[in-house]
């Protein structure tokens, strides 16, 4: 029921000389059909009503309270007010079985999902012991490095034998091993910047380093759809935070101008510095940030730019170097490059890269320098070997093949979904493919039906997305073969027919076997 989003088809022909990929920049966010919006809200209203009724019955004792009880109930202020947990008790629990699904194998292109059953409507679960091998469309495994065999895991195993698992010390004390320096140098070369520093956790990289970069008297302009870690980091820094509409360059410019003209609130003193925070690929929308335009604006108004490439490093760009590579911009134009190793490198951790003076400052003032243990050896060696493969330093072109495979898979998958009549958000080249479901009950239906057909997908609703914009989010991997994608598309076709997901008004609703297979196959092979 939120204001309808207008669809945006941005033609970037005049910037095509900067694009390394020859396609136009094409992003779509089709408007929610009115009837769908009405029925979705009605659905939530009915659920809430039922929820209130059930709560009432629980309070007067007719129905059993299934949640766990507070061990200190008498006279203690309750730990959570019951209304805070209303959503959890009455809506979330109904479909709880589709979230937090445990797996029992490596989270590669296929995964073994552990089967769970519940006798009491999802309040408690039991494992049957059976494992369901499924195509993994939910894990962040863009380049397919989540493998339990191969050069990367061999290196990781060797490193455990040589270095143990941890140094048990912080970076400022005895935690700096030679492999950390090797990793940081390699990463700096990969990104074509002066220096880099790596941390043990991606979330913490944002949350603990933005406070070292911004403080009181600074302004942070952050995209409305930024990740929680960025928001937490901005809040902890003590700077003033303002948001601009998602990917809206005009709004960003307007906010910048306003900020510089009027200065800090109340005192009207000029800002000490302004930091713009954007992401490379937004994980819920599948959209890419408009980097060249943002860089133009940032130069015009003398602001600093922080780009979080958690989902785009390795997955976007002709050489896999992220949005910088995709847009072919100068890496020095971006002041702070940030990214994670979890998604494309099959490991864990995060990094910040940029000029040497910046990295030196971060080395001294980062919160994780004195208070967190340094990275574990196998984790680091996994990244180093993955990087060597991507950069081609191992002598093969395996890395380049993976990047191309991913790009092919993404285009193939997206085209067919759109042609079948689903509403697919995001950029044509982003490996994150959100397909809209809207209604709350369908979140569970899609997930369960896809699992029955051998596909493990991720369906998200409130609060990760807006209340009425639930979606199923596919994460394509270079490890997916054409057969796997076909299987997934067929399953989606059936589920879409069963549950009525073909909402698009712009694209015809077609069944999978009505599509002209030859076209897609040819395109895939020529990729």
């Amino acid at each position: 029921m939120t204001a309808a989003k207008k669809s945006k088809k941005t033609d970037m022909k005049n910037k095509s000389s900067k694009l390394s990929v020859s396609d136009q920049f094409h992003e779509e966010f089709e408007e929610t059909p009115t009837w769908t919006a009405v029925i979705t809200v009605l659905g939530y209203a009915i659920l809430s009503l039922l929820g209130w009724l059930r709560d009432f019955l629980r309070n007067i004792g007719i129905e059993n309270k299934k949640t766990s009880q507070d061990p200190n109930p008498k006279n203690f202020v309750p730990l959570y007010q019951s209304y805070e947990c209303f959503y959890t008790r009455n809506l979330y629990t109904r479909i709880r079985d589709v979230f937090n699904q445990p797996i029992a194998s490596v989270a590669g292109a296929t995964v073994d999902v552990m089967e769970r059953i519940s006798d009491d409507f999802n309040w408690t679960f039991k494992f049957t012991g059976k494992k369901l091998p499924s195509i993994n469309l939910g894990s962040y495994n863009y380049l397919g490095f989540a493998e339990n065999s191969g050069p990367c895991s061999e290196q990781a195993i060797k490193s455990i034998e040589k270095y143990g698992l941890t140094t048990c010390s912080t970076r400022h004390e005895l935690g700096t091993q030679k492999y950390m320096i090797e990793l940081e140098d390699l990463m700096a070369k990969y990104l074509n910047v002066e220096d880099c520093i790596a941390f043990g956790m991606g979330f913490a990289t944002n949350a603990l380093n933005i406070p070292a970069l911004a403080g009181k008297g600074d302004l942070i302009l952050s995209d409305r759809l930024n990740h929680t870690s960025l928001i937490l980091g901005a809040r902890l820094s003590g700077a003033v935070i303002r948001t601009f509409n998602h990917n809206d360059i005009k709004d960003l410019e307007f906010q910048l101008r306003n900020a510089i003209i009027h200065g800090q609130p109340r005192t009207c003193r000029p800002w000490k510095k302004i930091l713009i925070i954007v992401e490379g690929v937004y994980s819920m929308e599948g959209s890419l940030c408009k980097l060249p335009e943002i860089i133009e604006i940032k130069k015009k108004y003398k602001a600093y730019l922080y780009v979080d490439e958690a989902h785009s490093i390795g997955a976007i760009g002709s050489r896999g170097r992220g949005v910088v590579d995709y847009w072919n911009v100068d890496p020095d134009d971006i002041d702070i490059h940030m990214g994670t190793f979890t998604k494309s490198f099959g490991s864990a951790g995060g990094y910040i890269a940029g000029k040497k003076s910046l990295i030196d400052h971060i080395r001294i003032y980062t919160h994780s320098g004195c208070y967190s243990l340094s990275m574990s050896a196998p984790v680091v060696y996994q990244i180093i070997s993955a990087l060597s493969i991507i950069m081609g330093l191992d002598g093969t072109n395996d890395g380049q093949k993976r990047i191309q495979q991913l790009a092919c898979n993404v285009r193939y998958f997206r085209r067919q979904l759109v042609d079948m009549g689903f509403i697919v958000y995001g950029n044509d080249n982003s490996p994150v493919v959100p397909v809209m479901i809207f209604m709350p009950a369908k979140i569970a239906a899609v997930n369960r039906e896809m699992l029955k057909r051998g596909c493990a997908v991720v369906t998200v609703g409130f609060p990760a997305t807006l209340l009425t914009e639930s979606r199923v989010r596919f994460c394509i991997s270079a490890g997916h073969t054409k057969e796997m994608l076909d299987h997934a598309l067929k399953a989606m076709d059936e589920v879409g027919h069963l549950v009525s997901l073909r909402y698009s008004n712009r694209n015809h609703s077609r069944r999978w076997n009505e599509l002209n297979r030859a076209n897609y196959d040819n395109e895939y092979i020529s990729c």
Binding site: F76, V77, V106, A107, A156, L174, W271, T342, A348
Partner: protein, 461 residues
């Protein structure tokens, strides 16, 4: 004539007034209300409204000038290239009981390797098996296929180990406590926090935006005073008091001081003043043994792995699964680290009393030996395996402590000055943080004391 006309006028006036008065009585009620409000509005406009200054809008030219003139500060201030963080010691090998620096082996009293699990073969084997089964990373947050069966096993084992109902694991020690505190304590709640808590707790407290009341380190009387003050405020406004949650945040063994919190007394106060206790047992877990098994914990050090966890009743822990940011929005712990932790727990359970008795006994012995060296102040409980060493009063500077560290390094003993960021809430005095490894022999402890003595002589000469 005039007077009669005047009289006539007055009579007219009087009848007019009378007529007016009569009409009031006949007028509908709403009419009167509207008239009265209009009258009041007029009075207000005339007498009470403040004159609004007319803002002169900026012209486009002025705006452009402002934009052109504005000069931001550089992104980062100039950096001192001699800062110790930029000149760290680089290692290349296992950092266990001994560590190799620049080709020389030295005894390691600097890393948090209490039970000497770093380099333990059993743990390494289990980790290797985990890599061969699960790969290295988990490729997703807990909600989206990042929950691996080994995580569930670890959570169950931890809960059993601490005799609690449920456990929850995080992938990074710092963010464990920094996510847990804001998950429970919101803007209107009150946190009673010990001044000596470490930085991660301070950040968690900041992130929660609650009211914070700091009490002096390990000073129960100060805490009681604050609680009593709060109680007085509560009695004045009991309705509001019923909605304010209270939490006490302490550490089992303080990393910055080496001493233990007086838990029994705090539990007494808990039931008296009705607050909930969060204990951070990063250092006490695995080193102290019997005391310190509290409600919330974070382990990183003695178990030879990386990560964090919390244990408690299901009621409390379940809440974190949806509202702790570091849990929901972050990739889960790499399975090999979870496997290592499970194996470490196995070892701890098999060796139940021996390991912990040994470490407590050795800590006591080391404490006695250190006390006998004149010129050092030892901070820390005698059974604590983590101690802080300081020089007396005015001699205690970072420079001198660094000299001691360097001298020790030349004699093949590795120790370290405790490092802090300058914006700590209550910056501890400079000190050398000594950490005891359970496998250290008595001769090695003697050697340590000898070296420390010589260093003292050299530095104060």
């Amino acid at each position: 004539m005039g007077s009669s006309m005047a009289r006539g006028d007055i009579e007219n006036l009087a009848t007019d007034f009378f007529g007016l008065f009569e009409s009031f009585k006949h007028a509908p009620f709403y009419h009167i209300i509207i008239e009265v409000s209009l009258l009041l509005a007029v009075v207000w406009l005339l007498f009470f409204r403040k004159p609004r200054p007319i803002e002169k809008k900026l012209t486009e030219k002025e705006k452009q000038e402002l934009i052109d003139e504005w000069q931001p500060e550089p992104l980062v201030p100039p950096v001192d290239s001699n800062h110790p963080a930029l000149n760290v010691r680089v290692l290349d090998g296992i950092v266990g009981k001994t560590v190799e620096i620049d080709g020389r082996k030295s005894l390691n009293f600097a890393t948090f390797n209490f039970l000497n699990f770093v380099g333990n073969q059993r743990i390494a084997d289990k980790a290797i098996q985990a890599v061969q089964k699960y790969g290295v990373g988990s490729c997703g947050p807990r909600g989206f296929y990042g929950t691996i069966d080994i995580h569930l096993e670890l959570e169950e084992r931890l809960a059993k180990f601490f005799s609690c109902e449920e456990g929850i694991i995080y992938s990074y020690g710092f963010s464990t406590i920094a996510s847990i505190i804001p998950a429970y304590s919101k803007r209107n709640d009150i946190l009673f926090v010990d001044e000596g808590v470490h930085y991660a707790i301070q950040k968690g407290v900041e992130a929660s935006r609650s009211h914070v009341k700091w009490f002096r380190h390990n000073d129960i009387n100060d805490l009681e005073r604050l609680l009593a003050e709060q109680d007085v405020l509560d009695k004045k406004n009991p309705k509001k008091a019923r909605t304010i949650r209270r939490f006490l945040i302490i550490e089992g063994l303080y990393v910055n001081y080496g001493d233990i919190c007086p838990l029994p007394r705090m539990v007494e106060l808990k039931y008296k003043y009705k607050y909930r206790i969060f204990i951070d047992e990063s250092v006490s877990f695995g080193t102290i043994g019997q005391t310190g098994r509290g409600i919330t914990e974070y382990y990183e050090y003695s178990i030879g792995s990386i990560g964090g966890f919390a244990v408690g009743s299901s009621f409390v822990v379940d809440h974190q699964r949806l509202s702790a940011q570091g849990y929901c929005f972050s990739a889960s712990l790499p399975p090999l680290l979870a496997a290592a932790a499970i194996e470490a727990l196995n070892i701890m359970e098999e060796d139940h009393t021996l390991l912990f008795e040994t470490i407590m006994a050795k800590s006591k012995r080391l404490h006695k030996k250190l006390l006998s060296i004149k010129g050092y102040i030892i901070n820390g409980d005698e059974i604590s395996a983590l101690k802080h060493l300081r020089l007396t009063n005015s001699l205690n500077t970072v420079g001198r402590l660094e000299e001691i560290v360097q001298f020790a390094q030349s004699r093949d003993i590795t120790i370290t000055v405790a490092r802090y960021l300058t914006d700590e809430h209550h910056l501890p005095e400079p000190s050398i943080r000594l950490i005891l490894n359970v496998e250290m022999t008595d001769e090695e402890l003697e050697f340590l004391c000898t070296v420390l003595q010589e260093a003292l002589v050299k530095v104060t000469a």
